[in-house]
């Protein structure tokens, strides 16, 4: 298989079509516009549906409608647009509907900046909208991984009947890198006996709704979500740990920031400092146990969290480590992409202070 150069946004759109997505609804926003652009050109050729909706809210509700008929459906946006979609995402959760949502994050709050950011971590991992819901959140750190994870996102969405978010940032969306298309066939069709797909008037009426007026019925549903989430947390956690064996310090970072941190770690390694990288790939469910196990090793003096926000994943890192080791933080905000040398400076400072 040959390596091909792909722009992140376009690779994500192509990966979705290859995985079997046949309905895309979106509304333009920088830095993810190449996704709807690519979809508008290629989705009809794949026999699917592309609609540029009148708003982000319309787009997510079109995803609800398409998914309710059993088709693999997707939308994408960037931070302010995702805020608009939150109501619809909560409804997807409430109606047990699979869907894939891409958030190519930019810096907030508000309209903020169009440059890369990671400040929607809380929004994505704590609650996709109102109510006791979650969605699986996947965070790629490069374009190959983004394309691979899109396929996995559709698979996970169908498996657990849940929305899945690909949480990346403007850097991943805009950059070009070589990738290999590993899977060439679409995902196998999944039986969806609940789908409201017409069935020519035969059989029982299917009603896809998130409304449960009787509170005990609603509670039973929410408890069923809880069981499902426990299963997801048990079976679907993903992470990468690089050079954490005998590391003096471990950096915890996700997405774009993780690869920058890796550059810093390589630089520090040349100076004789052993710095590991712990990179969660599922942000929800967060790899608490794996990080706790690494942090507990004798050599590890501290776990430094680096993010393009002011300390969001940092909370999960602290939850994982429970105070057993120091958990310093280095963060920049949207567009102020951390540089390897700044991360390296921070690591040196931390280790120097700890020796005193």
């Amino acid at each position: 298989m040959q390596k091909e150069l792909w722009k992140g946004n376009e690779a994500i759109a192509e990966a979705a079509i290859r995985a079997g997505c046949r309905a895309y609804f979106g509304y333009p926003i920088t830095p993810q516009n190449e996704i709807p652009e690519y979809m508008s050109k290629h989705m009809p050729k794949a026999g699917g549906v592309f609609v540029q909706a009148e708003s982000e809210i319309a787009a997510i509700n079109m995803v609800y409608g398409a998914s309710a008929t059993g088709v693999r459906a997707m939308t994408s946006s960037s931070s302010p647009g995702i805020s608009l979609k939150q109501e619809g995402i909560s409804y997807l959760v409430g109606a047990n509907l699979p869907a894939v949502i891409v958030n190519m994050m930019r810096g907030g709050p508000g309209l903020g900046t169009i440059q890369p950011g990671q400040a929607d971590y809380f929004q994505a991992t704590r609650s996709p909208g109102h109510g006791d819901g979650h969605m699986i959140v996947l965070a790629p750190s490069g374009i190959q991984e983004a394309a691979d994870l899109i396929r996995d996102a559709f698979e996970l969405a169908d498996k657990y009947l849940t929305p899945v978010m690909l949480l990346a940032d403007g850097m991943i969306g805009q950059m070009m890198e070589p990738i290999i298309w590993k899977e060439t066939s679409p995902l196998p069709e999944v039986d969806k006996p609940w789908a409201a797909d017409g069935r020519d008037g035969d059989g029982k009426t299917h009603f896809v709704s998130s409304l449960r007026l009787e509170s005990d019925v609603n509670e039973r549903f929410v408890l069923s979500l809880k069981d499902r989430y426990a299963k997801i947390a048990r079976d679907e956690v993903r992470y990468k740990s690089i050079g954490c064996e005998n590391a003096d310090l471990v950096i915890a970072a996700f997405g774009t920031t993780a690869r920058i941190a890796q550059s810093a770690a390589r630089k520090l390694d040349e100076e004789g400092l052993k710095v590991g990288l712990f990179r969660p790939i599922t942000l929800w469910p967060f790899p608490y146990d794996a990080l706790a196990e690494i942090a507990a090793r004798d050599s590890v003096k501290a776990v430094l969290t680096v993010e393009m926000n002011l300390g969001q994943m940092h909370e999960d890192v602290r939850l994982a480590i429970c105070g057993s080791k120091p958990t310093p933080f280095y963060g920049r905000t949207g567009g102020m992409v951390p540089e390897p040398r700044h991360i390296a400076d921070k690591v040196r400072d931390i280790l120097r202070e700890m020796e005193l």
Partner: protein, 178 residues
């Protein structure tokens, strides 16, 4: 070896295309490559730039903040990025569009009159290929032949005559980096 480049100029000068051409050639020659465009509002009429990394190691940060190599296609780009270049690095300046071009003394510097050379070839649009020719000659980052082969795949059919024009532009630029 890791080359970390910034290529900058006015929107429309082919700055992004230069970067894409280089990473495609780098990929063909087996290097790890990445390309990140600036995508701010400055793209509309103002300056545009891209970060390019070509390396025989896995690429960590794709964002270039301390370039080892800079291509400045206009004056504002030179002023903005010249101070960031690593000592011992390389700067190529499009001297057609920079008044009184001068470079830092701790870097290698080549002045390339891209517009004049493109004008001699009868097509100002190959000014970026003139610069690319100079860059490849100055660095050997990729082989000139790799780029020439790629041209054949880009320009074919009714556009096939552009292959020769682009090759002449590459060769014209190379003379300024000998």
């Amino acid at each position: 070896m890791t080359r970390e480049m910034i290529i900058a100029g006015f929107g429309g000068q082919g700055v992004m295309a230069m970067g894409k051409t280089l990473i495609e050639a780098g990929l063909k020659e087996g290097y790890n490559v990445s390309w990140v465009p600036s995508y701010g509002p400055e793209m509309r009429g103002g300056t545009a730039n891209c970060s390019v990394v070509i390396s025989d190691e896995p690429i960590g940060s794709p964002v270039v903040t301390q370039p080892t190599e800079l291509i400045a296609m206009n004056g504002p780009s030179l002023s903005r990025f010249e101070p960031l270049v690593e000592p011992g690095g390389l700067i190529l300046v499009n001297s057609s569009q920079v008044e009184n071009p001068s470079c830092r003394h701790d870097v290698r510097c080549y002045l390339v009159p891209c517009m004049e050379e493109a004008g001699k070839l009868g097509n100002f649009r190959v000014a970026n290929m003139v610069m690319l020719g100079a860059y490849i000659k100055a660095t050997g980052a990729v082989r000139m032949d790799t780029i020439k082969e790629m041209l054949g795949a880009i320009f074919y059919g009714p556009k096939a005559h552009l292959v020769a024009l682009n090759i002449r532009a590459l060769e014209a630029g190379a003379k300024y980096a000998e």
